[in-house]
Amino acid sequence: MRHLSEYRDPALAKKFIEEIRKVSHKKISLMEVCGTHTVAISKNGIRQVLPEKITLLSGPGCPVCVTANRDLDKAIAIAQEPGVILTTFGDMMKVPGSHSSLAREKAEGVDIRMVYSTLDALGIAENNPNKKVVFFGVGFETTSPTVALSIIEAERRGLKNYSVLVRHKVIPPAMIALLSLGEVRIDGFICPGHVSTIIGSLPYEPIAAEGIPCVIGGFEPLDILQSILMLTKQIENGESCVEIQYSRSVRPRGNEIALQTLDKVFKLADADWRGIGIIPESGHALREEYAAFDADRTFKVDIPPPKEAQGCSCGEILRGVKFPHECKLFGKACTPEAPVGPCMVSSEGSCAAYYRYGK
């Protein structure tokens, strides 16, 4: 087993589609919370093969998209400080802040480097002892343990020139916030498979207890189809529980070592979500013991108040209130070449997925 091609069988896909058609009677809206699901759904054309009664909404699960302009502006301001090398994942490079993007600053000569892993950022810190290396940490629970590890590792190696601008976010509070906003009907959640690999299935229990079925799904086409089938069955039968479709990597308690690592380095903190605003305890801050690694404390930069792009509906799209093509800028003033909002620039943003692969 290689754990890839097995989950892409066209004949089985047909069977799943038939099954879904058989069990689907009610008109339902399912939200895929995760941006990687959004891309997989668009790339495989899953919307086209579902019965019309089933609508798939895209949620706030693109970490790049939900990063507030204020936070991007701060990362750019820190990168411009003398002696700084700003490191971050490739995903963040092109995202526009209020006035600029990291890619544009890099073109201006600011030392901004893309890394594939926080291990690589540590390597840069080690090789540049006279520079201050800052890692701009975005992402959800899948990614944040790897950032926590980099801080533990920096301490172990005695690296004094490494710090992190912590802007991670935590998924379940955002799901609950969306439900309590009540702007959009959500009959079931396709829960993020890789976030859940870390956090497990237990954090979704309160959501299921409110009557919203949750299925933690994998990312291959058959995984997604099966997750949709499982949700449809729950809804049609009037049930609501948390099921794990992606059982090959998700355990109910998640990855306990990763959770302990997170807890060792970070505490929960309020976080600013683009389109939603501040959600209590939906992000991370460094614990006191690790204050020396906190770029928020070591850099005092002044940033002007953030500016939002005119006419951009990213916020509503992230909340599932609008589909990308319902934004008046979509495909006209806002395209992947000239993106106005982050949902168009991030490769897993809903707008980019809709634009690139069609509805």
């Binding site: 668009s42 790339k43 995903d91 544009r104 073109a107 992947p336 070449e337 490769s347």
Partner: protein, 335 residues
């Protein structure tokens, strides 16, 4: 448009096409350039010449399966061959950063000479400039090439017609991933080698076999998706391909999944896409498979009437999606 040139303007995708159309074409407008083929076809009365130029800035200079020198010759030869021309002469200009080891330059020239021998072309003129450290990155090579277009050849990206078939000469993504595997920061180990190869012999064989080849192009920067989109745009037709029919090595898929790349956007240096009349398709696939550079040749799709200017891909679950050009520079991503 951006107010500054970004890396993405050079990555073979949409930004570059816009730059060419909105700036270069405006300033240098003439009917030959306006065709936007990879080479210019020059009608000199007695003979038809194909003329092309290209610049090579690949980093690292040496990669599995080749180096910047082999790439320079193959790339130039292939641009000429894709017009149906027989490549003849090449110029080579070198911009060298001071400090480049002599042995490296020698090795690069040696592989240029070898590639030229294989392709049957001669490097007949050249130039060398040395710049201060930091003025260039180790070595850049600029080439120009000329070839002779046989009287009856009519190959252009604007010739595709509904009903035509799309043939791909082999697996995609090999060059881009092989080069990336040696790049700082992304280091991964692979036995994968660049597919960098001169394709003029293969082209000569298929042109011999059929007079109904409409378009030929080597899907380099921007990958297969960009080449197909160029054909769809230039010919004002739609193109539908079946994802499952496109040959991709497992290593390429692995690297792409890991880094968040789309194999359809990864560069190739030894592959060609041919759009051909349906009746000659089978014959051409057979001919291609007999050449070592075309042994995995296969039909991947066809040309349709609508939607004009767009490329669609049939996915494994039987749906269709748009296959767009690469937008901007491909960056490794974790999300």
């Amino acid at each position: 448009m951006e107010d500054k040139i970004l890396l993405a303007h050079g990555s073979g995708g949409k930004l570059m096409h816009d730059l060419i159309k909105q700036l270069f074409l405006k300033k240098f407008n003439n009917p030959i350039l306006a065709k936007l083929d990879d080479m210019a076809a020059l009608d000199l009365g007695e003979a038809k010449l194909a003329f092309t130029t290209d610049t090579y800035v690949v980093d690292p200079l040496f990669f599995p399966g080749g180096d910047i020198g082999k790439l320079a010759i193959c790339g130039t030869v292939n641009d000429l061959a894709m017009s149906g021309a027989i490549p003849k002469y090449i110029s080579a200009a070198f911009i060298v950063e001071e400090g480049l080891p002599f042995t490296e330059l020698e090795g690069i020239l040696e592989s240029m000479a070898e590639a030229a021998r294989e392709a049957g072309v001669a490097v007949v003129t050249g130039d060398t400039k040395v710049v201060e450290k930091g003025g260039a990155d180790k070595l850049f090579i600029n080439t120009a090439g000329v070839g002779i277009i046989p009287g009856d050849a009519d190959i252009s990206g604007s010739n595709a017609k509904p009903g035509d078939k799309v043939i791909l000469s082999g697996t995609i993504g090999d060059h881009g991933i092989a080069v990336m595997s040696h790049r700082e920061g992304l280091k991964f180990k692979t036995t994968l080698a660049s597919d960098c190869a001169p394709l003029n012999q293969l082209v000569a064989e298929i042109l011999q076999a059929s007079k109904k080849i409409r378009c030929l192009r080597d899907p380099t920067r921007g990958g297969l998706a960009s080449t197909l989109n160029e054909f769809a745009d230039q010919s004002q037709v739609g193109i539908v391909i079946e994802e499952q029919l496109v040959p991709i090595k497992e290593e390429i898929l692995g690297a792409c999944e890991m880094l968040g790349y789309d194999p359809f956007h990864i560069a190739n240096e030894g592959k060609l896409v041919a759009i051909v009349a349906p009746e000659d398709t089978e014959k051409l696939v057979t001919v291609m498979r007999e050449n070592k550079y075309g042994k995995d040749a296969t039909v991947i799709g066809e040309v349709v009437d609508e939607p004009k200017g767009k490329v669609m891909a049939k996915t494994i679950i039987g749906a269709t999606r748009i296959l767009d050009m690469l937008v901007g520079e491909q960056l490794p991503r974790i999300c």
